[in-house]
């Protein structure tokens, strides 16, 4: 299958290794991956902050850039959720592009029927189901199925896993104190598991959790699911 990569503005700028890992996993499985170079941002930050006009312009831009792509993959469930679930509310003509966009784990498990991508990873890992992957994009247990098939990986359950890490886009700075209180609890739960890695399917939440763990000097770090699958 020829798959277009939507790397997301955040991934492009701060986590290029996540985009490269997504590419590697899909190529290893024999798919052709292309990167439409005109892509920028899906508009989620603008919509979530109340700037609907700017969000609509970026949404239309996204639909135009990815117009000819049969399937679009992204390592960010919240950006996929934006395109698939929220674009139609911005503009009915934007419904179609959402039917072609997939988050990486749902593409692998649900579309391509693959759970074992041939990865091996040494260590104890816990999985944080991000809010948008749970409740907007609804990737279900696809990430867990992929993790269970990774050789050498010990998967441990995260207490209060389904509770938000406190990121929430601009929420993290508009309500920094509340956000930090939520983050502190999330980090404490991660440390309780004794895992050395916390993984998820959203770079933005991982940036938040990783920033908290690093500030604490904690013996755990964050790593995107794609990077575990590519190892």
């Amino acid at each position: 299958m020829r798959i277009a990569l939507f790397v997301t503005c955040l991934g492009d700028t701060l986590y290029p290794q996540t985009g490269r890992a997504t590419l590697e996993v899909l190529e290893r499985l024999g798919h052709e991956v292309v990167f439409p170079p005109d892509q920028t941002c899906c508009g989620q930050m603008h919509l979530n902050s109340g700037y609907r006009r700017e969000a609509r312009a970026l949404a239309k831009r996204f639909a135009h850039v990815f117009a000819d792509c049969e399937a679009i993959v992204s390592p960010s469930s919240s950006c996929v959720g934006m395109v698939r679930e929220l674009y139609p509310e911005l503009d009915e003509s934007l419904r179609e592009v959402g039917t072609r966009v997939f988050e990486l784990s749902e593409l692998l498990v649900r579309r391509l029927g693959v759970e074992d991508v041939g990865a091996s990873f040494d260590g104890r890992v816990t999985y944080h189901p991000t809010c948008h992957s749970l409740r907007v994009t609804r990737v279900g247990d696809a990430p867990l199925r992929l993790l269970r098939a990774v050789r050498g990986l010990e998967l441990v359950e995260l207490p209060a896993a389904e509770e938000c890490c406190g990121f929430g886009g601009t929420f993290s700075v508009k309500n920094a104190d509340t956000s930090s209180a939520m983050l502190a609890d999330k980090c404490a739960h991660i440390l309780e598991t004794g895992a050395s890695v916390c993984t998820a399917v959203d770079g933005s939440c991982l940036m938040h959790i990783g920033g908290g763990l690093s500030r604490m000097g904690a013996p755990a770090r964050t790593l995107h699911l794609a990077e575990i699958l590519a190892s």
Binding site: G11, T13, G50, E54, C131, F171, N175, A176, T178, L183
Partner: protein, 454 residues
């Protein structure tokens, strides 16, 4: 109104409050999950609840008139109140007409919303709160922080000390039964002497004029049956079309709110019954901004709310800040969408942002109010009507940068350079107070792709 982030800071700095809240919300959350999981058709029930309330709101003008006709036929007096002042004046007038200086009140958010107790106090009339938690707050000059568990921010040791100081005589332990008994002894005499009761309503049934309240303690039933005169203050959105609709609502409400299959007391009354209960019933139908909310096609679903408070208990924001931070009798996620609509977004512009948009509230709402969607909708209104100029400039600039891949690539390069200075400004600085910033890599993904693949 103090902004949410500022008010939240005060709550977050109080470790006792945070511990009380975390304990209470975790307990209720687990109870709710247990009793909801045992209902095989819960999703169908939610859909039925949503449909009943949405239909009621779509034809509210007809249902209200039908409700009034049924009430009049059953011997009640009906008062229409455009705002808080009109509603309070009706209650005060009834009290004056009967020469009453004390009224017994059951827990009612609607009367809290209109500030009834304060309005009556200004007329020399004392409104006695008879719900256990409301009584605690009234005795201490405090105010509710949760829709269903108003004193959720208090623990029993604090309550023991308060009762010992106020209503109890002799020694008192912090055993919940002993605390409840102390309030029972105090309240019983007042119930028997009361000549005017005041209630809210959980539901008003349009076809029959029946009013329905659900409660746990029985104080509501005493308020609505012992005094010879009763005033019920009802928000116009509280109607359901028929008695049969209560079948759905009375399954949804207790499971969602207290995590019980059925609440201990459900009372229904229709007008005045000869020689039984109050012989004079006044019903105040309150608008107070609700008609304006109805005008908004996206926002109006907030009026479907049946005040169960499930959204508060699952909210990661509420469970850390508590209810006072929301500056309204309607706290938590539902308050964040209801309050700005009732009092105007310009008067509560931080509330639509008091959410990480995690969506846990929508998942548990028994009438399927899509709270995240309404939050986004209201954020749009804040930006249009009362937005910050500097934020608008920054967002427009970001939109312009994202409008071209060339400009975006340039901005990425500038970001790398800025990082080398080591100075974090604006939002980055706020972020960096508690969280490390990720290092900006030497090459973006698009740089790498251009070099290796293109």
């Amino acid at each position: 109104m103090t902004s949410f982030p500022e008010a939240a800071r005060v709550a977050l700095a109080n470790p006792q409050l945070r511990a009380n809240l975390a304990n209470a919300t975790t307990t209720i959350r687990a109870k709710r999950a247990r009793v909801v999981d045992e209902v095989p058709d819960w999703e169908e029930l939610r859909e039925a609840g949503r449909a009943i309330k949405a239909n009621t709101l779509a034809r509210l003008d007809e249902y209200l008139v039908r409700f009034e006709e049924a009430l009049l036929a059953a011997g009640a007096e009906v008062h229409w109140a455009r705002d808080a002042a009109e509603a309070n004046a009706v209650v005060a007038e009834v009290a004056r007409a009967h020469g009453v200086t004390e009224v017994v009140k059951m827990k009612s958010l609607t009367t809290d919303e209109i500030g009834l107790n304060e309005a009556l106090a200004a007329e020399g009339i004392h409104a006695l709160e008879t719900d256990f938690a409301e009584l605690i707050l009234q005795l201490d000059g405090d105010w509710p922080s949760h829709i269903l568990v108003p004193a959720i921010h208090r623990n029993r040791r604090e309550i023991r000390d308060l009762f010992a100081r106020t209503i109890a005589s002799g020694g008192l332990s912090d055993d919940p039964r002993e605390l409840a008994e102390a309030s029972r002894v105090y309240l019983r005499e007042r119930f028997l002497e009361a000549r005017l009761g005041v209630s809210g309503a959980n539901f008003g049934v349009a076809e029959t004029g029946t009013i329905c309240i659900v409660e746990s303690e029985g104080n509501g039933r005493m308020c609505t049956t012992l005094p010879p005169v009763l005033v019920s203050v009802i928000g116009i959105e509280k109607l359901v079309p028929t008695l049969a609709d209560l079948e759905v609502m009375l399954q949804l409400l207790p499971r969602s709110s207290t995590g019980e299959r059925m609440n201990p007391y459900t009372s229904l009354w229709t007008g005045v019954a000869a020689d039984d209960g109050p012989q004079e019933l006044h019903v105040v139908l309150l608008d107070a901004g609700r008609t304006n909310v109805l005008r908004d096609e996206v926002g109006r679903q907030a009026l479907q709310c049946i005040r169960c408070s499930a959204c508060l208990n699952v909210c990661p924001v509420y469970s850390r800040t508590g209810g006072h931070a929301y500056g309204s009798v309607y706290p938590g996620p539902i308050g964040a969408i209801l309050t700005p609509q009732l009092i105007g977004v310009e008067n509560a512009k931080s509330l639509p942002y008091a959410s990480s948009l995690c969506g846990a509230c929508y998942e548990v709402c028994p009438v399927k109010i899509d709270i995240p969607t309404v939050l986004l909708h209201l954020r749009g209104q804040v930006v249009e009507q009362a937005g910050s100029r500097s934020e608008r400039l920054a967002m427009r600039a970001a939109g312009w940068i994202f409008g071209s891949a060339r400009r975006f690539a340039l901005a990425q390069r500038l970001g790398r350079i800025a990082q080398r200075t080591g100075i974090a400004v604006g939002p980055l600085r706020t972020w960096a107070k508690t969280r490390d910033l990720p290092p900006v890599p030497s090459a973006s993904f698009r740089d790498w792709w251009k070099r290796e693949r293109a």
